[in-house]
């Protein structure tokens, strides 16, 4: 399989970025909900540092995916896909990309407004702001949290649509992104 996309199928890079993002995002969501209630210990801080570092990784991977997608062809939806489904697919993907930018970006803003330096796996990506910005912190916190709820809703729809294609329509839409799958019986 080639690294590049065609109008028929996804290339290696797009497939790898997709599934890495899935694993990282689901881990971030689980950890994100748990870490808030951890007792204030150095361990909690370490968990936050990792959450921030992996979140920034999602931001970088999403930028890479979008860039790659813009310079590459995209596999077409199957012939005869109803117009509303095309719109739903495009809208859903747009939403997923938007949230994969907005959620880490709002987390980064929250971190900055809290007057933390921006960490990246032991490195300091950006020095702390010097002062707490409670207004920005409140806004960024709401965007971050509700962004995750919206992302989870879209993920359910996204996976549901993929299974609908695979098991109901028995087309190649899911297999294009999960080439290890066998065609549905």
């Amino acid at each position: 399989m080639p690294i590049r996309n065609t109008t028929e199928r996804w290339g290696h890079l797009s497939i790898a970025l997709h599934w890495i993002t899935v694993v990282v995002i689901l881990s971030l969501v689980v950890v994100g909900f748990v870490m808030e209630d951890l007792p204030n210990t150095p361990f909690k801080r370490d968990v936050y540092l990792l959450h921030k570092s992996f979140g920034l990784t999602v931001l970088a991977l999403t930028a890479l995916r979008l860039g790659w997608r813009l310079v590459q062809p995209t596999p077409a939806l199957p012939e005869g896909t109803p117009a509303w489904q095309r719109w739903a697919a495009h809208g859903g993907h747009l939403g997923l990309y938007g949230l994969m930018i907005a959620i880490p970006a709002s987390g980064w803003a929250y971190n900055w407004a809290s007057n933390f330096a921006t960490p990246y796996f032991g490195w300091t990506l950006m020095e702390r702001a010097g002062a707490v910005d409670r207004e920005l912190k409140a806004i960024a916190g709401v965007v971050h949290e509700w962004g995750v709820y919206a992302l989870l809703a879209l993920l359910v729809a996204h996976a549901g649509a993929a299974f609908y294609h695979h098991y109901q329509l028995k087309d190649a839409v899911l297999r294009r992104m999960a080439p290890w799958l066998k065609p549905a019986a």
Binding site: N40, P42, S114, A117, T124, V132
Partner: protein, 186 residues
């Protein structure tokens, strides 16, 4: 009548002396004063300040004699980071709910060769009292100025023990700095 007056004076004079003893003027701090601390965590420095504290300072630089009594409201500590402040005020550090105040007291003073002074005082924090010398410069005047530094070993006071006791990450020594703009107490 004269006898009554004499009697009143005889009793009142010692009373007056007791409430307002002779000696150096007693000062409290005015606007422009600060009480701060600095440390680092995992290599990243931070500093903080106590917004609320009260001072009762008497000092005569000529004889290097006096008395310091400073009460510090621990809950007023801030480091420009809500999450760190929550930890700082929590049970592992200041335990500010259970022990709301720290107190610095000094009655013994020394003069240094460079003109500064050392207060050989004690700090009471989390119910533990330990000697903490405060080195300070005293600028005399009608509103004297005190600029001091001290080093507080946090672990002596049980601050950040257990999970936080790694001094490679969070040093034992905390630098305390203060600038007091003093005015005579009313």
């Amino acid at each position: 009548m004269r006898f009554l007056l004499a009697l009143t004076l005889a009793f009142a004079a010692p009373l007056a002396l007791a409430t307002s003893p002779p000696g150096p003027v007693r000062y409290s701090h005015a606007a422009g004063s600060s009480l701060g601390f600095a440390s680092s965590y995992d290599g990243e420095t931070f500093d903080g300040r106590f917004a609320q504290f009260t001072t009762d300072i008497a000092f005569d630089p000529a004889s290097a004699a006096g008395r310091f009594d400073v009460m510090i409201q621990l809950a007023s500590a801030g480091t420009e980071n809500d999450e760190r402040d929550e930890t700082l005020l929590g049970a592992d550090f200041f335990n500010a709910t259970a022990m709301p105040q720290a107190r610095y007291q000094a009655t013994a003073f020394r003069k240094l060769a460079d003109g500064r002074f050392v207060a050989d005082g004690t700090l009471t924090l989390r119910g533990i009292t330990k000697p903490v010398p405060l080195t300070f410069r005293w600028t005399a005047g009608s509103t004297p100025k005190l600029e001091g530094t001290a080093v507080v070993k946090r672990l002596e006071f049980g601050i950040g023990t257990g999970d936080w006791d790694d001094t490679e990450v969070l040093p034992d020594a905390v630098a305390v700095t203060t600038t007091l703009v003093l005015q005579p107490k009313p």
